[in-house]
């Protein structure tokens, strides 16, 4: 079924948290190969949306479809094995294991192979793990404990872990959080390059406009739990509603992050 429809389709997603409506009916469609950014001011519902997509939270109503298949009620581990991978805003790796072992665990997990109680796991997936580590630029540190890696390297490791299962959809939660401005652009370019090479569809949330405009093919703007605007970066940038909602944030961000004036 892949290729004959949108990779990801979200229909009328609602989520209420004790009286506060975090998501008030979000509709979204992402085509294969897109690099889709989800942006919106604080409290717009980006995290809730993301967590609902990835199975952490259950939506109150609405549907999520991955390659035409209903994944609304699926658990995170099932989603992962179906080909939907995610990374985390706060870097989350297996700090007591080496970088290599992190990848091996990921490979075993995505394949559903963690029930084997007998086979020696030391050499499982060595080639692919090393390949992935090389892809994200961590070939030098494969035998270091993940907890001892620098923050930027941990982020790369996270990316490698997400890629381990050959996902067809990659969900990145604030992938450049905690980085310096220069690291951010480098990092998102790396992700973009890899995604293009591997033919992945990527959906990511982001606060930093410079990062968004660097790589996004389409942008969806969330505001107060609803989709405010959607379209090409140009279209969104020039959308008066978006400008109004973002005016406060964008001015501050622009002056700090965007001295070249990419933002209107």
């Amino acid at each position: 079924m892949a290729g004959s429809g949108p990779v990801l389709r979200v229909e009328n997603l609602h989520k209420n948290f004790g009286g506060v409506q975090a998501l008030g009916g979000v509709d979204l469609e992402v085509e294969k190969g897109e690099f889709r950014a989800i942006i919106g001011p604080n409290g717009a519902g980006k995290s809730t949306f993301f967590n609902t997509l990835t199975g952490l939270i259950r939506a109150d109503s609405g549907r999520t479809l991955f390659e035409g298949r209903n994944i609304t009620r699926q658990t995170p581990d099932t989603l992962a094995r179906l080909g939907v991978a995610r990374t985390f805003q706060i870097t989350s790796v297996f700090s007591d294991l080496t970088a290599l072992q992190n990848l091996q665990v990921a490979l075993l997990g995505y394949r559903g192979a963690t029930w084997n109680p007998w086979r020696s796991a030391r050499t499982i997936g060595l080639e692919r793990s090393n390949q992935l580590l090389h892809l994200v630029g961590l070939a030098e540190v494969t035998d270091l404990l993940a907890g001892t890696l620098a923050h930027g390297d941990q982020k790369r490791l996270e990316l490698a872990i997400a890629l381990a299962g050959r996902p067809r959809l990659l969900l990145l939660d604030e992938p450049t959080a905690g980085m310096t401005a220069r690291e951010r652009l480098e990092s998102i370019r790396l992700v973009h390059r890899i995604a293009s090479e591997l033919g992945l569809t990527v959906v990511f949330t982001e606060h930093d406009m410079a990062v968004v405009f660097e790589v996004a093919t389409r942008i969806s703007v969330l505001h107060q739990g609803r989709l405010l605007a959607e379209g090409t970066p140009e279209a969104v940038r020039n959308d008066p509603q978006v400008q109004q909602v973002y005016l406060g944030d964008a001015v501050i961000d622009a002056e700090r992050d965007d001295p070249e004036g990419r933002l209107a």
Binding site: T75, D77, L97, Q101, V105, L108, T114, W118
Partner: protein, 310 residues
Amino acid sequence: MRLPLTVLLMVCGIAVPLVVSEFWTFIAIEVLVFALYASSFNLLLGYGGMLSFGHAAFFGVGGYATALLVKKGGLSVGLALVGAPLAAAAVAAVIGYFCVRRSGIYFAMLTFACQMLLYTIALKASGLTGGDDGITGIRPTGILSNSIAYYYFTLSLVGMALYLMWRLVNSPFGYALRALRTNPGRLRYVGVPVRAHQWMTFVIAGGLAGLAGGLFALSIGSIFPSWLNWTASATPVVMAVLGGLHSFVGPMLGAAVYVILEVVISGHTEYWPLAMGCIILVLVLVLPEGLTGWRSLQARLRPFGGSGGR
């Protein structure tokens, strides 16, 4: 494990009953049993990151199952010892189903409550369990009544069980377990059904503890409800921490030291609990990585599979 060390251990293991008195052969049997018991506990804590306050429950269930199968069921020792881990694993399956739904202190308290439930059943269901009097007279007859023979019997069973455990912790399941201890949340997102894995670990650990309990019950010929009282749940924790949680052999070493300390100290004074309490204090305050602590330090700087194994 380093090969020469393993070989040395095996040689020692085989030679022991041939060079020591009968009394010390009994102690050696106890060491073997508790090595298995402590290792089973460490599967939960050191590898899986789950602290159970109620692991003694499965040791006790194994003991009672064996005692009942031998005394009331008339089964042979061998069959009774198949029943022990199965019974313990079955109980662990039920208890574990509820316990893994919680984590941290609530998990621990739930295991504690379940152990106390079993304790009261052992105490009250006197028709079945003999109540306060326990079950006695279950020493093996025939060949195994000889302590040396029983020692080798225990050695082979414990050795086999530990080998199986060794393969488990180095298998894909074992890797998932270590990742689970480190970051259970993340593990779900790489496709691992975490709760199911925790449950399975609980069942396996329970089964292994049950085997240990069965072997011990037969070796001393009796079993009492006190095996299931809450004070008994400290034993596996002490042994595992004493030896070191972060290595495969740590708990076994801890068990050996613990058993020998108990024998020696109890021989001189009736205040073994006092001594044990002081030892624990020293352990916790001064030597938190246990006796194999220096190894864990090394392992941190080397890739897995080098020395000691984690």
